[in-house]
Amino acid sequence: MLHTINKSPFESNILETCIRFLQPGDPLLFIENGVYAVQAHNRFAMLIESVHRTNPIFALQPDLSARGIMAILEGVETVDYEGFVDLVEKHKVNNWL
């Protein structure tokens, strides 16, 4: 099951909540303001890295570019809208709002 997160981790606790329910192997995709979670050197780096040990992590490139986030955490894969569609094709979805 694909989980998507669209809120900044600084302003919302959805990331922590979602991670609590995430099953091993299920992909996590950050979109909209959610992409700040994978910015390098911020205070969520350790949390994201620990999730990455068990779950693939994606971020929507158009949203990273729009926010000027050039440096992202190692291991995070970027996708465009078509890559987002591919993930939805491969997995059932759980869009956290």
Partner: protein, 119 residues
């Protein structure tokens, strides 16, 4: 794959409308079917033809209308949510319609995926 979209936020105020549109466009480009965009909560405001954004900005309602015209995507607004927010068929963009939550249930049943955008 056949996809239903649930859109729960109003246009311009949140990025949800934009992401939903870009996602729908990409799905169609990849050969998938986007069956319907169901507008709920403030999402119903996406369907007003009265919106009149600045010339150099996107026109969100017209984009939905074109998605209907060019790709047969149904643009459907929940009646109860629409009534609360002053949306009715007199002011809705071509290609959109008012319906009930039963239709959303049908959309959830008949599609391979139901993807939600909101806030």
């Amino acid at each position: 794959m056949k996809i239903g979209i649930l859109l729960k936020q109003g246009p311009y105020n949140h990025q949800a409308s934009d992401t939903a549109y870009k996602f729908a466009e990409a799905a169609i480009r990849k050969g998938h079917t986007v069956d319907a965009v169901f507008l709920y909560n403030d999402g119903v405001i996406n369907a007003t033809k009265l919106m009149d954004p600045p010339q150099d900005d996107r026109h969100i309602a017209e984009r939905w209308s074109e998605l209907n015209r060019d790709h047969g995507v149904e643009i459907l607004a929940c009646i109860a949510a629409s009534k609360r927010r002053g949306i009715n068929e007199d002011i809705m963009i071509t290609g959109s319609a008012i319906t009930g939550l039963g239709t959303l249930t049908d959309i959830a049943i008949r599609n391979d995926r139901t993807v939600t955008f909101g806030d």
